[in-house]
Symmetry: C2
Subunit: 402 residues, 2 copies
């Protein structure tokens, strides 16, 4: 007998039929003799609908009241799931975030879980009840309702698993698990059986969209064994754990991220600290800079290129325009017609041939590389957006073809 | 400067425009220098929509989970109203039932408020904030969410007014106040300026549909001054208080209630305690009997007639059928083709001519009286349903024509 935490996202509970489907999955796990705690998101479009309602009244509503509003979404889904499980004849009880003892800091709309007082949940598990918990939400020390921000239900599930010392945390979603790359782009993509926390972190932040980053960080910190799998079939998913099985695979996945734009500052004064001052100015505006390259410079001027998200492009250009006398560049150029393609794998740190092999794949496919960035477990290149899908396929098949 | 509690029902906040309208009313009261606490119901059809969602999944869902589900409705409306008030530039904070300290017993779906821990509300009032509280809901001692049942938001408002020692509790609704009778039936009906708690109780229970009975009982118990008025205009409403201004009006209102059905047990054995045993049997099934008349009897058999709500008719007939050997009636007859028409007024207790005048009005209108019941401040008659509206008009104009 094990303690299993399951998480079901909004699409998994979007209507009555799907709710009954989840109820069957939950009770199947319970029938096998497990204790089951379930974290649930709001149904389908509920959250977006509530945001729409709020905007109609006040587009600048306080975050506290937004949290008060949005947290009702999961309150609806937990009650409905509990009712579905009652219908199947199993003992069950639902809890909102505060009822489940989920205590967070006070950062409304992006709160972090500080701890979970599991007493009430534990009591109900001891009574052999299935426990349903509202994901995405908690309360701060003033008893104000908080929400955890996008992907927060994953984090709720992992935090519950950590606090309850669960044997496994299953994240149910609408895909079968973590793939070597996006199967919609690359027909030869396939599901990984397991992956390390660090690899998953890189894949998640690069746009794999399967697991939220913060939940993976928390799983790593508390050594929670995760499983990512589909709520629509019984296929084995992907396990995320401390060390992935040693396989002869340097590279575990290929990702593409279209949410980037490149800015080039041409002919900037080549003085010590100049680049640093420019990037500090950008950072102070809350804009994240991703890839950066500088030309070597001729002692007088140099070129600086960097990427930001597409959404930050105009804001960044405005900032540069406001400070153009300080920056004193010959020309400022920008394009959002670029994509970032990355490979991820814990194995590549000790293998200097990986980058060369990646570049060879791109060269063979006649794809130009714009910028390059490397870390211990990933290599990213910036390519023209029109080439991005071809780049993913070329790289995937070079490294990962089965 | 006064402390005012206001209550707005579901139709008053049914969409963004109505929510902004309520926000303006609330802030107008605040601008006049008052402390303001607002109890709000769920928007328009939200509660019914949630019930529909639940039924689709499990028509026999537990009441605990129904309360968990339904309480989300007011959580949405309090957040939206707070956002609307923020938009107008006033300090505001919203509270769910539990955040407001509304403690109830554990009778899910029909809980009673035991007390309100007003500390948090008081703190926010001291900070000069407008406080919005979810009506209809609270928590029990296990931290489970409870709801107060139909009309519960009125009760929430009165309980808040009592706990906070408010100077006035204003119940905003979609009518201008308490009328002498239903203006849709009787063109000569007019609004009362004030009415006593006892009179209001009789009017409410007789179907006036303006204020929920339990809220009036509570207002009487804690001597909360109530005002019933429209959220759509600035007309003075009706004050409900301990003693209504002494007016030369014996009768304050005429009501009609179609939700009744009559059952006649003909030829029942005329033995001591027989009727009592039959009514006890009915009461044990949770069925409320309203009017009762017995024929005098001839020492052997007698006839017993009584009324129940239309919804309880079939259940009552089934029960009588199951026990027909014990009841041993010659015949059991029933009809739901009846209505109860009543007059209410604290003045009638000392005036024996009132009943006669009422019967005269009905006689003049050629309306037959089926059954009669009187109490200190009301007289009810049962008439054929087709005659009910004519009866209301005849009686109203006999007693109340201006």
């Amino acid at each position: 007998m094990a303690l299993v935490v399951q998480k079901y996202g909004g699409t998994s509970v979007k209507d009555a039929e799907r709710v009954m489907n989840v109820a069957r999955r939950v009770t199947n796990t319970y029938k096998e003799g497990n204790s089951v705690v379930v974290a649930v998101s709001a149904q389908g479009d509920t959250t977006d609908d509530l945001i729409e309602k709020a905007k109609e009244i006040n587009p600048d509503a306080s975050k506290r009241e937004m949290d008060q509003l949005l947290s009702s979404g999961e309150q609806i889904s937990i009650a409905l799931l509990a009712m579905a499980i009652e219908k199947l004849g199993y003992p069950v009880i639902s809890f909102t975030g505060w009822q489940a003892g989920v205590l967070t800091d006070s950062k409304h709309s992006a709160a972090r879980i500080k701890r979970i007082d599991t007493e009430r949940i534990q009591t109900e598990l001891d009574r052999k009840r299935i426990v349903i918990v509202a994901g995405f939400q908690g309360i701060n020390k003033y008893d104000d309702i908080t929400t955890l921000g996008r992907g927060g239900s994953d984090t709720s599930a992992v935090a519950l698993a950590a606090a309850l010392h669960a044997d496994l945390c299953e994240i149910y979603t609408d895909v079968d698990g973590v793939y070597t790359t996006d199967p919609r782009i690359c027909k030869t993509a396939y599901k990984l059986n397991d992956i390390s926390y660090d690899e998953m972190l890189e894949l998640a932040s690069l746009g794999a969209n399967v697991l939220h980053n913060r939940s993976v960080e928390m799983a790593k910190k508390y050594n929670v064994k995760l499983s990512v799998r589909s709520s629509l079939n019984d296929h084995e998913g992907t396990y995320v754990k401390e060390v992935s099985k040693v396989e002869k695979m340097l590279v575990r996945g290929v990702t593409r991220d279209n949410d980037c734009a490149r800015i080039a500052l041409c002919g900037v004064e080549d003085a010590p600290g100049k680049a640093f001052q420019i990037f500090e100015m950008i950072a102070r505006k809350g804009i994240s800079v991703d890839l950066i390259i500088q030309s070597i410079g001729d002692g007088k001027t140099k070129d600086i290129s960097f990427t930001v998200t597409e959404g930050d492009l105009q804001k960044t250009l405005d900032l540069l325009e406001e400070n153009k006398e300080f920056i004193n560049a010959r020309e400022i150029k920008s394009t959002s017609d670029v994509s970032k393609v990355s490979i991820v794998g814990a194995g590549m740190v000790n293998n200097s041939g990986v980058a060369a092999k990646m570049f060879e794949a791109l060269y063979d496919a006649h794809i130009n590389i714009n910028m390059i960035a490397t870390s211990e477990i990933k290599i990213s290149v910036l390519v023209a957006r029109k080439d991005a899908e071809a780049a993913v396929i070329a790289i995937h098949d070079k490294f990962l073809l089965k």
